[in-house]
Each structure stands twice: as structure tokens, then as C-alpha cells.
């Protein structure tokens, strides 16, 4: 069971991410050039992970759209098997806020520092009102004994919109390679 999930070729093939299509170099989106859009997306992602790593979690829900939004952490193992169950699944800003209230007031968990590294930010689709963006992430955790290890590796699949002059996540899907969780998962990724 500890060996990596090598799923039957049938099911894996049918659920492969077809993500290699390129968007043109010179698109315009919401009045921004392609370069500026890329820069704004990267800045959004950097601010998002800084919010988590610097423990400003009360602000975390505001990175999502106000009306309808979706935040999901799901294992790659479940995705490739076509299984819908997730690790975290929030469908409103209220649910995002509830996660944080619960983390602050109710949950007991070992104190750890998390540090996100985000890279390979790739705009995969440009629609009139949204962008589809994939990026890779690694979360390092530093335990109380001072040792650092990799807590989670995976990718973000984001649907990003412009709302009140800010880029926000209408959908954020975290697909986790590391499906064997070390003890528990309390902070957002």
C-alpha cells in the first residue's frame, strides 16, 4: 500500500488532465495585456499563500468571490479513480469562515509552521469573464523540534475572476499528490 498509486491504465487515461494546450502570447483580458495578466495572477497567488503562511487566516476567505465560490482539497488518488470525496470542500465564503473559526476556537492540533512554495503558474484558458490557471505547490512543514519536511505537494486548478477591481478565486481546486496525510490537515492549502 505504501507504493505510489499506479492505477489501471484505463481509468488513469480517461481522467488525465488535458492541460498542455497553449493560450496565445498576446491576449487581452479585462483590459490587461497578457504580461500584466500573468503578473496579476502571480501576485494573487503570492498574496494568497502569504496570508496562510503568515497566519492571517481571518483574511483568507476574502481571496474568494463573495457570492458563489468553491474551495476544494481533493487527493489525486480520488480524482484519478473518479471518486468525488474530498479532504475539504467549501461552497460558500461562510463555510470558509467556519473553517477558520473552528481552527481558532475548537480544533486541537500540533503547532507547526507551514510554508508554501508556488511555481509553474500557467494560464490555461482565457474567457471573457474568467481565467483558468494551473500552478504547482509544495507545502513545507516545520515541526516544533525545528525539523522541516514536505507536508504536501500538488497543484492548484483555479478559476479566477475580476471582482471589485481585485482578482479573486471563483473556484480553487487543490489536487493533492500526497494522499497519505501526516496526522491531520488543519490549515488551508
Amino acid at each position: 500500500m505504501s507504493s505510489p498509486s499506479l492505477l489501471s491504465s484505463q481509468s488513469t487515461a480517461s481522467r488525465k488532465d488535458k492541460s498542455s494546450a497553449m493560450v496565445p502570447d498576446d491576449f487581452m483580458w479585462q483590459g490587461y495585456s497578457a504580461l500584466e495578466t500573468q503578473w496579476r495572477v502571480e501576485r494573487l497567488l503570492s498574496r494568497y499563500v502569504a496570508c496562510i503562511d503568515d497566519d492571517n487566516l481571518e483574511e483568507w476567505p476574502s481571496f474568494f468571490t463573495q457570492d458563489a465560490c468553491s474551495y476544494e482539497i481533493i487527493t489525486r488518488e480520488n480524482v484519478e479513480r473518479g471518486l468525488p470525496l474530498t479532504l475539504v470542500f467549501c461552497t460558500s465564503q461562510g463555510m470558509l469562515a467556519d473553517r477558520i473559526v473552528s481552527l481558532r476556537e475548537a480544533n486541537i492540533y500540533p503547532q507547526r509552521w507551514y510554508r508554501h512554495i508556488v511555481s509553474n503558474v500557467l494560464i490555461q484558458a482565457v474567457a471573457e469573464d474568467h481565467l483558468e490557471v494551473q500552478s504547482h505547490y509544495v507545502v513545507l512543514q516545520t515541526r516544533r523540534n525545528g525539523q522541516t519536511s514536505i507536508f504536501s505537494a500538488g497543484k492548484y486548478k483555479d478559476r479566477i475572476v475580476l471582482q471589485a477591481d481585485e482578482l479573486r478565486f471563483a473556484e480553487k481546486r487543490v489536487v493533492v499528490d500526497t494522499h497519505s496525510i501526516d496526522t491531520l490537515l488543519v490549515s488551508p492549502i
Binding site: 500500500m1 507504493s3 498509486s5 499506479l6 492505477l7 489501471s8 484505463q10 481509468s11 482539497i73 487527493t75 488518488e77 480520488n78 479513480r81 471518486l83 468525488p84 470525496l85 474530498t86 479532504l87 475539504v88 470542500f89 467549501c90 461552497t91 460558500s92 465564503q93 461562510g94 463555510m95 469562515a97 467556519d98 473553517r99 473559526v101 473552528s102 481552527l103 476556537e105 475548537a106 480544533n107 486541537i108 492540533y109 500540533p110 494522499h179 497519505s180 496525510i181 501526516d182 496526522t183 491531520l184 490537515l185 488543519v186
Partner: protein
């Protein structure tokens, strides 16, 4: 005043336990040599172990791999829809046969020398067999089957020679609650997994009690969840525990911004909470609309891996399935906002018990000399019959016992 410590921490489980039934020698959690004995006596011995559910391999050709201690297993659904459990090893030179955690095959092929096995375990091809040893007979080299039995689709295995029949082993208390937990008939549909590694001994993982829930899980209080008064906790002499509580529907008291998550759609309206804990290491729960089977692997004296598998019932409406997915994805388990504390405790129990003395049960203890069989919903004594059974199985004596 601080208490006086009487013994030294030896790291080795003592052969003789105290006469008081509520005292567990702490060394049983951290003793690596004891773990090897437990593998032989319990995990490879005369006990039944739950390794999966039929719903994880719903179609012909579906398989799942799992470990019992260190022994790799292969669960396969054959052509006549029969589910069999094999040792996950090629009968030639012992190569691990299947490496995926799950999938669908027409047959199992060992890549080493390309021996081929049917879904039912027969050896169907073995290249070059004309030059095999004179006593080689193809029909003798089918996959090795592990003795298995099922209860409403739950797959049990045993490697012991003297394991009692499954019905006897389950006893009378377990089946009614277990069948309701499994949707009444076990016709389940797999929704997915959450898998976790605890830095904890399997007995610490398994020692959650009726006392802790309203204490440890602050969210229960914040949500104003009521356990109710008609619940019960019942135990068998061979270490199983059955727990039921009303877990009344929540009055939203403003703690949650989005109460839709904690609604009880009442797929099983009589009880909000049912828990069946089977010796040695399986926990199965139904909380609100969540059906969750926890397949545990005792990896070592200090690591326990648990696969939390979530299910819907085959007859559920699409709406109920979605609700079960939402609840399963948010409430319980290692990422669940109302009970992830258990995970933190498993680790701390393991660290904290590497100290002198005893882990001592209090809540509900009425006699120090007799293992309680009659306990209340929120007592921790429901775990003592399991400890007593464990002690006897492992051959530990009690003080004064011959």
C-alpha cells in the same frame, strides 16, 4: 500535590499487569518487541480482520490491495462475482503481484517471468514450463488464498488456524448496530478515501472512549450538539464495542455561518450516531449522514495507517449522495473540522505514555477488581473489556494470578 512515581519506565511491557483492572501499563504502547508478538498472536493469529468492503470492488475484475500487518493482500472480484482474498504474491518466486492500490484487470500478470493468474487465482500460463522441476504441476500453483468471510459486504480475513466462525466472533451485540450502520443491507457505493498516517501505536489509535467526545471536541459544544439520553455503550467479552447516541439535530446557535453542512437529512433518523469498534483495530461510524469505515494497518509499534473510506447507499437520491459527500469531506476524519483533535491525541497519547506508571481509567469505574460490562454512554470504561481481552490474548498475567 504532585504524585509519587513508584516504578521506572523500562520501555518493555511487564509480563504481570496490576491487579486493578483500570490500570494499563504504559509500556504496551512503545515496546517494539511487543509489536512483533502482537503481529504473530493477533494480526496473523486467531482473529478476524476487516480489510475492505465489496463496494470498493464493485465490478468483475476490480481489485484492491491492502496490508495485514506486513503481509500484502490482494482482494479480487472474480467472474462469478465472488470476492476472494489472496496473498499479494506470485507463486513462482514470491514477487509482489499487484502494485496498484486498486484497479481493474482481466487477469493478474507477474512481470518477472510472466506467469499469469486468473481473477479467481488459477495459474493460467507459465512460460517455459516444459523445463520446470519434475514435480511441477500447474494446478498446484494458483494464488494462495487467505481465509475470508463477509458480513454485509465487509470483508474479513484471518490467518489463524483456530479462529472461531465469524458469526460467533461477532457475537449478538454487534450485528444489529453494524447492519444499520451499513445502510441496513450493506449495498453501499464508494465515495472515496482520506488516508492518514498517525505516529501512534494501534492500541492508542483504538482507545478513543465515550468520555472524551464532549470534552475534547469543542466544536460539539460550540454547535450545541446533544448526545441525548437514550444512547448506550455495549461491549463483548472479546473486545468489541458498540455505541449509539441520539446526537440530536443541531439548533443553529450562530457558531456556523453556513449551517447547511451540519444538517441531518435523516437517512437513519433514530440515531445520529452509531459506532462499531471491532477488535483489534477497526472502527466504523455513522455520524449524521456520514457512513465511514476505517481500515487500519498496524505498521509498527509507533505508526498506524488508517484509510477512511466513505460510502453512500446504492438507493440514495442524488441529493443525499451530494450531502453525504459534503459532510464526509468536512466533518470527520483527519481533516474534519469537528473531530480532527482525535488525530492530535493519538500522537500525544503515544509520546506521553513513554513515561513510568499506568494509563489509568477513571470515568465509570465502580470496581477495581472486576472488568465492567455495564457502562454508561459517556463512560470510558467501555474500553476495559477490550484491554482485558487483549491482555488475555497476549498472555499477560495479573498480579496474584497463577
Amino acid at each position: 500535590m504532585s504524585s509519587q512515581c513508584t516504578g521506572n519506565y523500562t520501555g518493555k511491557a511487564p509480563a504481570v499487569w496490576p491487579a486493578k483492572v483500570n490500570q494499563i501499563p504504559k509500556e504496551v504502547f512503545g515496546d517494539a518487541a511487543l509489536f512483533e508478538e502482537e503481529l504473530k498472536t493477533i494480526f496473523y493469529g486467531d482473529c478476524w480482520h476487516i480489510v475492505g468492503h465489496f463496494a470498493e470492488v464493485p465490478n468483475v475484475g476490480d481489485f484492491k490491495t491492502f496490508d495485514l500487518g506486513r503481509v500484502p493482500l490482494l482482494i479480487s472480484r472474480g467472474k462469478n462475482n465472488q470476492v476472494r482474498v489472496f496473498y499479494n504474491t506470485c507463486t513462482h518466486r514470491g514477487n509482489q503481484l499487484e502494485v496498484a492500490t486498486s484497479g481493474n484487470r482481466k487477469e493478474f500478470e507477474c512481470p518477472y517471468h510472466r506467469w499469469l493468474f486468473s481473477l479467481e487465482g488459477a495459474l493460467t500460463a507459465c512460460p517455459g514450463s516444459k523445463e520446470f522441476a519434475p514435480d511441477f504441476k500447474q494446478e498446484n500453483f494458483g494464488l494462495m488464498e487467505v481465509k475470508s468471510a463477509q458480513f454485509m459486504g465487509l470483508i474479513f480475513v484471518t490467518m489463524g488456524k483456530n479462529t472461531p466462525p465469524l458469526t460467533e466472533w461477532l457475537g449478538e451485540i454487534v450485528p444489529p448496530t453494524l447492519s444499520t450502520l451499513l445502510g441496513g443491507d450493506g449495498r453501499l457505493k464508494l465515495l472515496g478515501y482520506q488516508k492518514v498516517r498517525y505516529d501512534s501505536n494501534w492500541k492508542g489509535y483504538n482507545d478513543n472512549d465515550g468520555y472524551h467526545a464532549p470534552m475534547l471536541h469543542t466544536a460539539f459544544r460550540l454547535l450545541n450538539w446533544q448526545g441525548g439520553t437514550t444512547g448506550f455503550q455495549r461491549m463483548t467479552k472479546n473486545g468489541h464495542v458498540v455505541f449509539e447516541a441520539e446526537l440530536k439535530a443541531i439548533q443553529n446557535n450562530g457558531f456556523v455561518n453556513d449551517p447547511s453542512l451540519v444538517e441531518f437529512k435523516g437517512s437513519d433518523p433514530a440515531r445520529g450516531s452509531r459506532i462499531v469498534q471491532l477488535f483489534p483495530a477497526t472502527v466504523m461510524v455513522k455520524h449524521l449522514d456520514i457512513i465511514n469505515l476505517r481500515f487500519a494497518i498496524a505498521r509498527s509499534h509507533d505508526v498506524t495507517e488508517v484509510h477512511y473510506a466513505y460510502f453512500a447507499h446504492e438507493d440514495d437520491s442524488e441529493e443525499l449522495v451530494q450531502h453525504r459527500i459534503r459532510q464526509g469531506s468536512n466533518l470527520l476524519g483527519p481533516c474534519g473540522m469537528i473531530s480532527m483533535e482525535d488525530a492530535a491525541i493519538f500522537q500525544r497519547i503515544h509520546i506521553g505514555n513513554q513515561t513510568p506508571g499506568f494509563a489509568e481509567f477513571q470515568k465509570g469505574v465502580t470496581s477495581l477488581m472486576e472488568v465492567p460490562m455495564d457502562v454508561k454512554q459517556n463512560d470510558e470504561t467501555g474500553n476495559l473489556p477490550r484491554w482485558e481481552h487483549y491482555r488475555k490474548v497476549m498472555g499477560f498475567k495479573r498480579e496474584g494470578e497463577k
